[in-house]
Symmetry: C2
Subunit: 335 residues, 2 copies
């Protein structure tokens, strides 16, 4: 393992995605990626008492599904790296308590899945762990209640707003052979262009995505065409346009290979999701379904996944602060 360039690590002993699982809500199941998810739960409360409890149950179900698909139990896993969008990560805390596995709690807003896979890969590639779980989740209703308005208010949404994905995606990262290799990571720094519109988070996050993609290409000495796809997390349509423009200013054209999990997961014309999907669970569940299945079908040889996060809180917005962005890149390659 070595540090290369400004912000990247290249793995010699590549860790592998040994298994993956995703569970999503009804709306995500009705979207274009519906057939790829492991489970679609029609009950938006997931059997719980409130939205936070719902998200905890979503996490618990997804990790259970993951262990069951891998034919493993909790004792086979050395660490969990996990996060969500709620204050003090309560969805993760209450969703993970029963697994009894040492936990590293992470917060990178919607970039958390990239952060979890990055640090999980370092733990495994270094020999510090044999097998870890990396996971991230979000829930539409718990996120709306936290960041915007409780659903009961029936407020209207700007067309630039995104729709928080109800979903959880989890992977087992292992030093044993697996389904996909993790060959490198590029870690994001906070990028703040001073934008303040929390209903246009795609614009707030695009500069951070551009920075991480630029660093990744420089650090690994690659062109965009060296990737079958560069997937950002949840920029949506507005953020995508800005990202492509920002990289063009640096002489890099990713338009042929760029996709965004937030654009893929919903059909904006049929599903009224405005700028697209968002949330930690958006890139996590898209990776742990559609993207992994494309690898298994031999359609991808190498991709760059760049989950994107908007670093705001209800308090920071109310106090008139900007919405800085962060984005964590991970390079996946076919075995």
């Amino acid at each position: 393992m070595q540090h290369i360039g400004k912000a990247s690590i290249s793995f010699d002993n590549t860790p592998y995605i040994q298994e993956y699982a995703s569970i999503v809500g009804k709306k995500e199941g009705e979207g274009p990626l519906g057939k790829y998810f492991d489970e679609i739960n029609e009950d938006s409360l997931f059997g719980g008492d409130n939205w936070e409890d719902a998200e905890s149950r979503l996490i618990e179900s997804t990790i259970s599904k993951l262990l069951s698909k891998a034919n493993m139990s909790s004792t086979d896993i050395d660490y969990i790296l996990s996060g969500d969008l709620l204050g003090q990560l309560i969805a993760s805390s209450f969703g993970l308590v029963n697994f009894n596995i040492p936990l590293f709690g992470l917060y990178g807003a919607c970039s958390t899945f990239g952060e979890a896979v990055s640090l999980g890969s370092v733990l495994v590639a270094s020999g510090a762990a044999n097998r870890v779980i990396a996971s991230a989740s979000s829930h539409f209703a718990s996120a709306e209640k936290t960041f915007r308005f409780p659903l009961g208010y029936g407020n209207q949404r700007k067309f630039s707003a995104t729709w928080t994905t109800t979903g959880c995606g989890s992977v087992i990262i292992s030093k044993d052979t697996g389904k996909v290799k993790i060959t490198g990571i590029t870690t994001g720094k906070i990028v703040d262009y001073g934008l303040k519109d929390k209903e246009n988070m795609g614009a707030c996050m695009a500069p951070a995505a551009a920075d991480t993609i630029y660093n990744n290409l420089c650090d690994f000495g690659r062109n965009p065409s060296d990737y079958d796809k560069i997937f950002t997390g949840d920029l949506g349509y507005i953020g995508q346009t800005i990202l492509i423009d920002l990289l063009r200013e640096k002489g890099i054209d990713i338009s042929d290979v760029h996709s965004d999990c937030g654009i893929e997961i919903f059909d904006i014309n049929l599903q009224d999701t405005h700028a697209g999907g968002s949330g930690c669970g958006c890139s996590a569940s898209t990776f742990c379904s559609y993207i992994m299945k494309q690898f298994e079908a031999g359609k991808f040889k190498r991709i760059l996944l760049v989950p994107t996060g908007a670093l705001l809180s209800p308090t920071s917005s109310n106090e008139g602060n900007s919405v800085p962005g962060i984005a964590h890149g991970v390079v996946f390659e076919a075995v």
Copy 2:
């Protein structure tokens, strides 16, 4: 580097604490550890506009102090690992944005400094990074506003409550020779005894501390007397009693070597801090002052630091949930 026992990693190429810095508020400066801190700021707003801004400025000042003590600039640091207690880590986000360093945002409640040093040590020991900063902070007023009541309400506090430390502690972890070695880590899992009193967090966290200390002793094959001190983060007086009792039930007596940063940082008789100090910044600033100076004075050969976290949010408490705990252990040894 190797995974040992249930929850620990032992470092062959030990990473070092190359430099450390701590900045605290007026009350902490007046406490028993006052002479050990790098700076004591008499202005509880740290020149900021509100309590969140104050904590961000505290973080920015501490990292600047750290770099200046080490005679380094941002470009000498590969990664920052940092966290705080506020929802969505806004104190860290706005406090770190100007350093332009790739960031891993962490949330482990008041255990965050242990988590940051743990993951930072793995990054350095594995060769994935040459030099990282691990940091954690808290601020009395931003924490009271988040978890209890805004100060303006003038509410009364139970005697079992702790006093959130206004402080930030930051270290540079490096593969070069430094002041103290990091020889191992023991990572905590979530432990929930079902306690619900957020004004008695020492009791909520003590079972997690007991679990991590027990695992550390088993994994490394040590007795309590193999450590000069076992420092927990912020159990306070009530939590300390419970911790010692819980370990006695397992046949382990740590009473001779146990200290708690929350007990050390304030004089409860003179400073009206009830059960003791708490907050991410409590163990971080105590380590980055008193504990490091004891090592430098040759008084410590080996210690176990176990920052302790209470995994609650205002929402989880209002919904009647318990307060699970987590604790992350780090073994430091004299060079």
